[in-house]
């Protein structure tokens, strides 16, 4: 109880600090710390699946993307430093934020007790999916369409990022080519950590069917390993025009959608699985989806293409 109250106060304090921080870089660091504390809170709420996702995606990948953005924005921020928004605008923002926060708080407070839940039904029908983790059963069977749309949204985000590409570099390589001392500590860590990390990523993806984990968390770790290897200069990003890269990116949503459509013939509905093959079909979807998410996340972190391959 003392720990929970302390954790809650800390989460709120770090959130306030993140908003109040003047420096963008400091605010991003605050955001990452906020995400990690939030992950701890999810663990305390007995939701380890959400905690893993929050730590990996909410705090980790988003943190790296925001760090990149804060570096790119530095020049624009310096020139915009003296132009403060007017008192009216700031007051309107404050009122709007207060209304949204108060509304959310009110909704939480008026929830009936005990809250309506579908958990018993989800647990009762789990055997039909062949899965052992109810969270994965929700994501891949009961509400598979949400997960399908999530994979599409990630792809759309990448398209949005690529649309920022300057014309001469269209189809080129994303991000800066990193170089580091080949005998240096970063190279050493990347060489040692990447194989271990790939194994951990596959493990987290695979245990998702019976324990906390799954394709989003596993894919994030795989993407992080690629980012680490790229930062150490061990690998370079491929040009985004490569056909095999595009195929990896769309493989997940495409296979998901195809098996979803096949559900009409096999079980009489979109994304319905025949009970005898549910687990097999779910794994068939999850493998390409994991690859697609990993590639999408890595390319989102790498940024828009800004150089051409050297001849």
């Amino acid at each position: 109880m003392v720990f929970d109250i302390g954790l809650t106060l800390l989460v709120v304090a770090v959130a306030v600090w993140t908003i109040a921080a003047r420096d963008t870089f400091a605010a991003v660091i605050g955001f990452v710390a906020f995400g990690l504390l939030l992950a701890l809170a999810w663990v305390r709420l007995a939701a380890p699946d959400v905690a893993l996702t929050e730590a990996a995606l909410g705090s980790g990948v988003t943190g790296v993307v925001l760090l990149g953005a804060s570096t790119r924005l530095r020049h624009a921020e310096i020139s915009a430093a003296d132009k403060k928004p007017g008192a009216m605008l700031r007051a309107a923002a404050a009122v709007l934020c207060t209304v949204v926060s108060a509304g959310l708080a009110a909704i939480v407070l008026v929830l009936p007790h005990p809250a309506p839940t579908l958990a018993p039904q989800a647990a009762a029908n789990m055997a039909a999916t062949g899965l052992g983790n109810p969270v994965t059963a929700v994501l891949m069977a009961y509400r598979a369409i949400d997960t399908l749309l999530e994979t599409v949204v990630l792809l759309l985000a990448l398209l949005g990022l690529w649309s920022l590409t300057p014309d001469p570099f269209w189809g080129g390589l994303p991000g800066r080519r990193h170089h580091d001392d080949p005998d240096g500590v970063l190279t050493f860590a990347a060489q040692l950590l990447v194989p271990v990390g790939i194994l951990v990523g596959i493990h987290i993806f695979w245990v998702g069917s019976v324990a906390p984990g799954g394709e989003f968390q596993g894919a994030t770790i795989l993407a992080a390993m690629w980012i680490l290897a790229a930062m150490a200069g061990l690998v370079d990003a491929p040009p985004v025009s490569r056909r095999w890269l595009r195929l990896i990116l769309v493989a997940g949503p495409a296979v998901f959608f195809t098996i979803g459509l096949a559900g009409f013939a096999m079980a009489g509905g979109f994304l319905a699985y025949p009970e005898s093959h549910a687990k097999l079909l779910i794994v068939m979807i999850e493998v390409p989806v994991t690859l697609s998410i990993a590639a999408t996340l890595a390319l989102l972190v790498a940024g828009p293409p800004d150089r051409m391959p050297q001849q």
Partner: protein, 97 residues
Amino acid sequence: MSLALDLLTILAVSAGVFFFLAGTVGLLRLPDALTRLHALTKADNLGLGLVVLGLLFQEERLFAALKLITVWLLTLLAGATVTRLIARNARPTGPRG
């Protein structure tokens, strides 16, 4: 036997927490980036190691115990690497000096 194990756990975890506390005091009180890093790494490596050691006394499954040790080793590797990288950029002479 379990009392002895519990005592060992309490001893090791308390010692670990002490190192974390000392490291945090160092982070807050020491004058510059390099000394702060110095305090932090010692605290985290040794503190986390002692906490893991304490938890090992409570773990009956070998696989879970190995996982705990792996977590510590990975943290050592990541911590040492990141510290080197921060220190390289924080040096007064700059990264290449």
